[in-house]
Symmetry: C2
């Protein structure tokens, strides 16, 4: 089954204690695509400026990511600069130049509309609603968002939440969204608003899946060295939705496996800057780590 | 197999967003005993003042905890007062009156010396060494410690570490002890110092077990309401060592199960103040939650 992703395409300048990259490809739509394309065909909707060199994402085309929904607008590509502190859990944003992304209007090409899986990456909820309105009849819609929209576009975000099947959030975001400190209570409150299922990302502490009838915890894979955490969340989402797009039925067990695949793919993503690791890793290596992951939690 | 525990016995005054108790029984030795006694006989070494009313720990005697190693010294019992903030992960110590605990010298009664399992709760490493010197030939020795001893008694603590089989620490402590930020690297460094196995407690994020040939992660059980986290770490240790004391062999799998039992018992401990929940829960309830715990992590 094909997957649609709508999100940002950026040129990231990232500094971590282990190195630095300048204007390397990033953004939620690309990280998601790189991760999801291990499992299923992906179609991207996004925007770049005239300065964008498509050759730097050639590898996505080779992985059957459909880039025809990326529009080139007059101006510069979205640029983000950030620096991670020693412990890698804290990052300082050095600059955010939205450029052409500021006036992004997602246009869904006709041949994208039949995608059965939809990932609404972290963009303005107003745009996320437009995307939902333009899809034929998706089997599964998955939402990501962030504090900025929770605080500034609450009403529209609530409408998206009512309409999607799955929400992926981090632990801070779900607390802010629901006003509940206690994660279990926050999750229960959010489920009452409509989604079938929540995935709460806890960074180095793994992820939790909560639905009306299931509760599942997955650790983070213990990578030897985190080189760059940028894109980990979108890579997780890519592995998660990607695996689900291969399933004939969306059972509780398959959602659990999808969380484990998401964690597995994210664990590769952080092992190098930008897409460097996701570009070289094979599906076989993903399966091997997924098996190690399973063994890590068995008792 | 019998378990020896040497640690503190305290009267705790604890305030959390959900209530308050005054001078209720606590301390590492008692929390450990309450937890371990679900599984195996426990023998306690500790000290109290003349003001200590043994009737408040009657229930431990009924659970076959041998209290004959508790000495009554002239003076007042150790008292601790603390207040937890809204999110329960931060606590402020209001006072620490060591009283008779300040000059505590563990005396191991002769009938305690053949205990095959030894838990050295969080006390001065100098005293922990004395305890080790006074045991016949334990099968498994388990160490707990804290930042105070890591900073102030490093040399003696290192000697204890060289002599024990298992160390239980939280994530902050292992980083401070090894000077390594990255948890995996910190664990590898600590293992080189002698212990066979480490258990890293991560509070609401669960626990990780690391040995030369095993890596296991367990989540925390998602309790509906954390009423009082005091004693959670010692209850975890009690469930962990308690389960091991029932095993005919100390295999990797049994260590994993022990972590899960530790987490299970700790999850009950935090559901009420002091020992209130551990006192009423049954072994059957522990088994039921342990099974839920297993299901929570299966995929």
């Amino acid at each position: 089954m094909s997957i649609l992703v709508v999100g940002s395409i950026a040129l990231d300048t990232v500094e971590t204690p282990l190195g630095k990259v300048v204007d390397s490809p990033g953004g939620s739509a690309l990280f998601f695509s790189a991760a999801a394309s291990f499992f299923a065909p992906v179609k991207v909707v996004g925007v770049v400026g005239e300065d964008f060199d498509f050759s730097i994402i050639n590898f996505l085309g080779k992985k059957k990511v459909d880039l025809s929904g990326i529009r080139v607008e007059h101006g510069q590509t979205f640029r983000w600069g950030g620096r991670y502190q020693q412990n890698m859990n804290i990052r300082d944003t050095l600059y955010t130049h939205l450029n052409v992304f500021e006036s992004f209007q997602p246009v869904i090409p006709p041949h994208y509309r039949k995608c059965k899986f939809v990932f609404l990456a972290n963009i303005d909820p107003v745009l996320q609603l437009q995307v939902l309105d333009n899809m034929d009849s998706p089997s599964l819609t998955v939402l990501d968002t962030m504090n900025f929209w929770i605080a500034g576009r609450r009403q529209q975000l609530m409408e998206v939440i009512r309409r999607v099947d799955v929400i992926i959030l981090n632990d801070e975001e779900i607390k802010e969204l629901t006003g509940q400190y206690h994660l279990q209570q926050a999750a229960q409150k959010l489920l009452q608003w409509g989604p079938r299922l929540l995935v709460i990302k806890k960074g180095e502490h793994g992820a939790v899946l909560v639905s009306a009838n299931d509760y599942f915890t997955a650790p983070a894979y213990p990578v030897n060295e985190v080189v760059d955490p940028t894109g980990a969340g979108d890579s997780f989402a890519g592995g998660f939705v990607g695996y689900l797009a291969t399933c004939s039925r969306l059972t509780d067990l398959n959602f659990r496996k999808a969380v484990a695949y998401g964690s597995t793919v994210a664990s590769f993503a952080v092992e190098s800057f930008s897409f460097n690791r996701l570009r070289e890793v094979s599906r076989r290596q993903i399966e091997q780590r997924y098996e190690q992951f399973r063994k890590m939690t068995h008792f």
